[in-house]
Each structure stands twice: as C-alpha cells, then as structure tokens.
C-alpha cells in the first residue's frame, strides 16, 4: 500500500481519497460484475439454464471448489500458499468412500486427524520459518500416496447419508446457491468484520505489528491452517457426495482452481489482502466459464484455450482497476 500513496501524494487529499475509494469499490465489485455478465450470457445462450434444475446442474460442482477456495484463501491471508490442496481433497474423498462408509467412527477419526495434520503443518511452517510452498508441495505427494494406499483402483461408495445430504432440494433456491451465499457471508463477517478476523488477517499483512501487540503468531497460524484443513475436509465430503465414488486423482485440479479463485475474487499474494465473498464468486466464475464455453459450442480444438482466455480477460480487468487505484483518473 505504500507505493500507491506516494505516487499520488501530490493530489489534494480529498480527491485522492475519493478516487482511491472509488477504485477500491470497483475492485470489490469486479468479481460480482464478471459473474453477472457470465450468467447473463449463459441465460441468453441457453434459456433452459435459467431454471431451478439448470442452476442446480451448473453450480453443484462449484460448491466443493468454493469450499477449497475458502480454504486456500485462509492460507493465502497469512501470506502462505498451499500447493497440496487438490491432493488433500482427493485424500479426503478416498477416506470418505472407504473408511467413512465402512467404519464411520474410524472415518471421522481419520478426518479429524487430517485437520490435526494441517494444524501441525501451520506450526511447523511458522516455528521453523519454512517456505510453505515447499512444505505443502512435499505434503501433496504424501496425500496422493495415502489416497492410492486407501483406494488403489478407482471405486468405493460414498455413505448414503452424504449422497442424500448434497442432493437436498430446498424450495425455490438450489442447495448450491444457498451454500455459497451462507459460506461467503459467514466468512465475510468472521474474517472482515470481527475483531478476531482483523487479527488473523493482520498476521499475514503485518506480522510484526500483531506480534508486538501481544498476539501469538504461532497460535494464529495453527488456527488458520486448521480451519483451512477443515474447509478442505468439507470440500472433499461434498465432492464425494456428488460423484458417489472416488479415485486418488479426483480433485488434483483443485489446487490451481482454488488459487485462481482467490485471485479472481480480488485477493492478492501479499498476505492479509483477501475477500471471502470475492473468493466464492471467483470459484463460481471459474465453473461458469466452463459451462459457457460448452454452451457456445466452440470446436473442441479451441475450448481448451478459450477457458484460459476468459480467465486472462478477467485478470486483465483486475490489473486495469489496480492501476486506477495507483493513479486515479
């Protein structure tokens, strides 16, 4: 934040503040705007999507991605990066279709153990001052290895209650949308509006100040990693409820999707600058971009590139808005 303030120091204080606030609002609105534009285009291309069933079909696989994105956002907000998110969620999925289905008690114990491992990772990364990228990259191999040990060939069955849970059809609004809204709002109030949230984010943005104010950075990191592990577990469970069975590679793509979701949603790799609402919207944008391409019916040769082009376009808009913030009109 220092650079922007310096470069506009010559402008009168009032206009500078106004312009900066406008740019910040624009930045916060961007994820929502891109999502609305995407949805509108989809509804025009495929009016059938504008129904309860349509929204449910398009968005139910977005819920595990949104949960993974929130988990990744918690890690990014303490200025770390989790490269094991996808393999962790795959591991959870494998636990869910094997242990959790046959021995529920052991299954829950294993899932609680997963959260515990994440908390330990946070402690390790903080106390030994290790780069999180390296530690989590190493962990990703461990998770995949564990998943293959549990489920050597694709299969397994998700517990019936889990399948029923993710298929609940509430009146009027599909479950996927309700979960996303609740998730976004809850995390927004927790992380952006509560006192605890300010401290947690501060540990990423300005760890020195937080430590000087008497907070334990170790406990903050452990708490954030444990919460990330918790959301990872939720993501894996929701995913496996939808797919009904798993394989060891089922969610590998979630690592990059979750990072992309956080960034699309207005977060940054600097610690402390994240937006829970934006992260959920970013995850939805990623999923809907895929749907849109399939509705436009572009040739398969181009589908692969086009999905990337949409992401680059949204990020370019972000960059443009960021420039506004640095040098207001």
């Amino acid at each position: 934040m220092n650079a922007p303030l310096n470069s506009v120091a010559r402008a009168p204080v009032a206009t500078r503040n106004n312009a900066a606030r406008r740019a910040r609002m624009l930045r916060a609105a961007l994820p929502a705007v891109s999502l609305v534009v995407l949805l509108a285009t989809i509804f025009i291309m495929q009016p059938r999507a504008m129904s309860y069933m349509g929204l449910n079909l398009m968005l139910n696989l977005a819920v595990p991605i949104a949960l993974a994105t929130i988990a990744q956002m918690l890690i990014i907000s303490v200025n770390d990066l989790d490269l094991s998110m996808g393999s962790f969620i795959s591991f959870v999925a494998c636990v869910a279709v094997t242990l959790l289905d046959q021995h529920p008690f052991l299954g829950w114990l294993a899932l609680a153990g997963c959260v515990g491992v994440y908390a330990l990772l946070g402690a390790l990364i903080h106390s030994r001052n290790l780069p999180s990228i390296v530690v989590t990259l190493g962990m990703s191999f461990i998770w995949v290895g564990g998943a293959i040990l549990l489920l050597p060939s694709p299969g397994g069955t998700a517990p019936q209650w889990l399948q029923a849970l993710v298929r609940i059809k509430p009146p009027l609004i599909p479950l996927a949308i309700i979960v996303c809204i609740v998730l976004g709002l809850a995390m927004h109030f927790f992380l952006m509006r509560s006192t605890v949230g300010v401290v947690l984010r501060g540990a990423g943005g300005n760890p020195l100040a937080i430590a000087k104010a008497g907070w334990s950075l170790l406990r903050i990191k452990v708490a954030m990693y444990a919460m990330a592990g918790g959301f990872g577990v939720l993501s894996g469970l929701f995913l496996v409820g939808l797919t009904t069975s798993a394989d060891a590679n089922v969610a590998l793509r979630y690592t990059l999707l979750s990072i992309a979701g956080v960034i699309l949603g207005g977060g940054e790799f600097v610690g402390g600058r994240v937006s829970p609402m934006g992260a959920v919207l970013g995850a939805l944008t990623l999923v809907l971009a895929g749907s849109l391409l399939s509705f436009i019916r572009i040739s398969p040769d181009w589908q692969i590139g086009a999905q990337g082009a949409i992401l680059i376009f949204v990020l370019a808009l972000r960059a443009a808005v960021n420039r506004l913030e640095v040098r207001p009109l």
């Binding site: 495929q46 059938r48 398009m58 050597p152 060939s153 798993a246 590679n249 398969p300 692969i304």
Partner: protein, 346 residues
C-alpha cells in the same frame, strides 16, 4: 487437419458406397431419430489415438447429420483430463437437452453421479474406451484382458521351446493397464515355458518406454520377446538397438510408425511379429449404438468391441492405406451394432 483427414474420408466414402445398397432399406426406420441430438463428452485429446478417435466421430456424424439420421452430434473435450471437470461438462450437456451422451471417461467411477443425473433426466448414456461403472449407462470396450492373453498365445506359437518375455505396462493406477496386465499374467500361467523376466511402465508413450526399457535392460538376461499395451513399440526397439542387444519379437499396437518399422525390419532381416490394439473408430461404433438405442432397440448394457489385429500376412495390406501417424482401424457402419457381442457384466 483437413489434409490429414483426407485418406480417412476417402476410405469412409468407399465403404459408404459399398454398403449404400444395403443401407437403402433401413433408412425408413431411422427417421425416428431425425430430430434427436447426441453429444460426445471426451476427456483428453493429446495423443494420436484420441485425435483419430475425434476425427472418426466427426466423419461419421457429419454424414449422419447430412443423411438426416440425426439432428446434430457435437463433440466436447475437457481442457484438462480431470474427472471433476468432465462431470461438470456432462451436467452442462444434460442442461443443453441432448437426447444421448456418448462418453470417453476420465475415471470409471468419479463420473457416476453425473451419469446417474443424465439417466434420471431420460438421457441415454453410452461410454466407450474409458467406460463408466454406473449401471444405467451402456459400455462398449475391447476385452483388454483377452488382448493380453492373445499376445502370449502368439508368443507361445512363435517360441514353442520357451522364451524370456519383458512386459512393458501402461500408466500405473489406470484400470486398462490393470486389465491388460491380468491378461498377460493369465497367459504366462497358460504357457508355463514363457517366462516374464521383467516389468516396466511405459505410460503408453514411445519415449517413456524407451527410457524405462533402457534402464532395465542391463539387469536382464537375453530377452526373446516384449509384450506391450500398444503405441510404444518403436521406442522399445530403439532401446534394444542402443544397448546393442539382438532385437526381440515386439508386439505392436497398430500405429503407423510401428508397422513401418516392422515392415522395414521384415524386408531386410526377416523380422516377424504381431500387432493388436483397439481401433480409434470405436467412437463411430459408440455413435451408432447411441443412435440405435434412441431408435428404440434393446441392447445389453455391456458390449464388447472387436480388437483390431495385424499379422505378418496382413501387414502389407494394413500399411497400404494407412496415413502417416495413423492407426489401423475398421470403418464401422450401423449394421455392425447388431454384431456386437455382450460382455460379462462388470
């Protein structure tokens, strides 16, 4: 793309002309599917087999649309070979109102949720090559275990006095690899004088296979034969040449570069071998199965597609019309659907 498709198109046209008189009668009964839409959901397009598979789909469906057999048959490929992405793609296809979805699946199980949703929406789901285990879907696939046994049967006839065999496997953890391997193991039990002396993973790629075989060769006794899963033959041959070892009998996978190499060796030094793989035109077969199901035909849910083999006798004929980078394949017509054999339910 255009120029590469040409030979295929030509052979298809020939086949179409040949069967045209036979086709004249059934056309009337096809009118029932004239307003139906079929979609292809494909998980990967990054190797020659998949490219030819997509080209075969395109050829067959273009003609079917022109003939009024079907309203449309679009193909969709996911950006990355990931089950979650393909599940989302299938849900989009449900939403787009397709009457049948033909799937080459990234995972035999992880798409089951989406496939069930499609079935519940009254959509016919046909999976081929990479099949799905959801009972409501139809499955067309080669009997992979049988291809493993056939490779060993050929070697047993070729080396009646016994032989040392090296097994080059595919991608670890994938069900096809597991099934071909079980066939090889069964073949080794059936012919006890064939001894499997080594086992490496070639990942269905000539370059990976070359590296893997080069790495294991120094530790092996004399290798008389190599069994493969298709597509890595030339890489294996190069590994033997580089190590200064005598060339073993390598079982090939119907790729043009493999057959050309085989032909050159057999012309110069009387090299003999055998080649077996599934043909990429299985996508056309899957299309016809979907169309026939839409037409109201009853079929078992598990169908066996024939394997395509090339022997020393048919080598020249197979190579003649094969374009560079192509794979030996059969041209299927709607009548082949009736000849499909049911498979044991999975």
């Amino acid at each position: 793309m255009k120029s590469r498709r040409h030979p295929l198109r030509r052979s298809l046209l020939c086949a179409a002309l040949a069967v045209a008189p036979l086709m004249a009668l059934p056309v009337a009964s096809h009118a029932d599917t004239a307003d139906k839409k079929i979609a292809l959901s494909n998980n990967y397009a990054g190797n020659s087999w998949r490219q030819l598979m997509l080209a075969s789909w395109q050829q067959t469906t273009d003609k079917a649309v022109k003939d009024g057999l079907i309203a449309s048959a679009d193909s969709f490929t996911t950006a990355e070979n990931q089950a979650t992405e393909q599940a989302a793609q299938i849900q989009n296809l449900i939403l787009q109102g397709y009457d049948a979805i033909v799937i080459n699946a990234s995972s035999p199980t992880a798409l089951n949720g989406a496939v069930k949703q499609a079935c519940d929406a009254g959509i016919i789901v046909v999976s081929f090559d990479g099949t799905v285990s959801e009972p409501c879907a139809y499955r067309i696939s080669m009997d992979f275990k049988q291809t493993g046994i056939e490779q060993m049967d050929y070697l047993a006839g070729r080396f009646p006095q016994g032989a040392n065999v090296l097994e080059v496997r595919g991608l670890a953890g994938v069900s096809v690899d597991e099934r071909i391997h079980s066939g090889i193991t069964a073949g080794a039990q059936k012919h006890p004088n064939l001894r499997v002396v080594g086992e490496v993973n070639g990942n269905w790629s000539p370059t990976v296979a070359q590296k893997a075989v080069s790495g294991v060769l120094p530790s092996l006794p004399k290798v008389d034969a190599v069994v493969t899963q298709g597509g890595e033959g030339v890489g294996i041959a190069q590994a033997f040449v580089a190590a200064g070892r005598p060339l073993p009998a390598i079982i090939f996978g119907n790729r043009e570069e493999e057959l050309s190499w085989w032909k050159k060796q057999s012309d110069t030094q009387g090299y003999q071998s055998f080649s077996i793989s599934s043909g990429p035109s299985i996508s056309s077969l899957a299309f016809y199965v979907a169309q026939q199901l839409l037409d109201g035909k009853q079929m078992p849910h598990d169908l066996l597609s024939p394997a395509v083999t090339v022997t020393q006798q048919t080598l020249d004929a197979s190579l003649k019309d094969l374009p560079k980078g192509g794979i030996v394949s059969e041209t299927y017509s709607v009548d082949d659907v009736a000849r499909l054999k049911p498979a044991a339910s999975q």
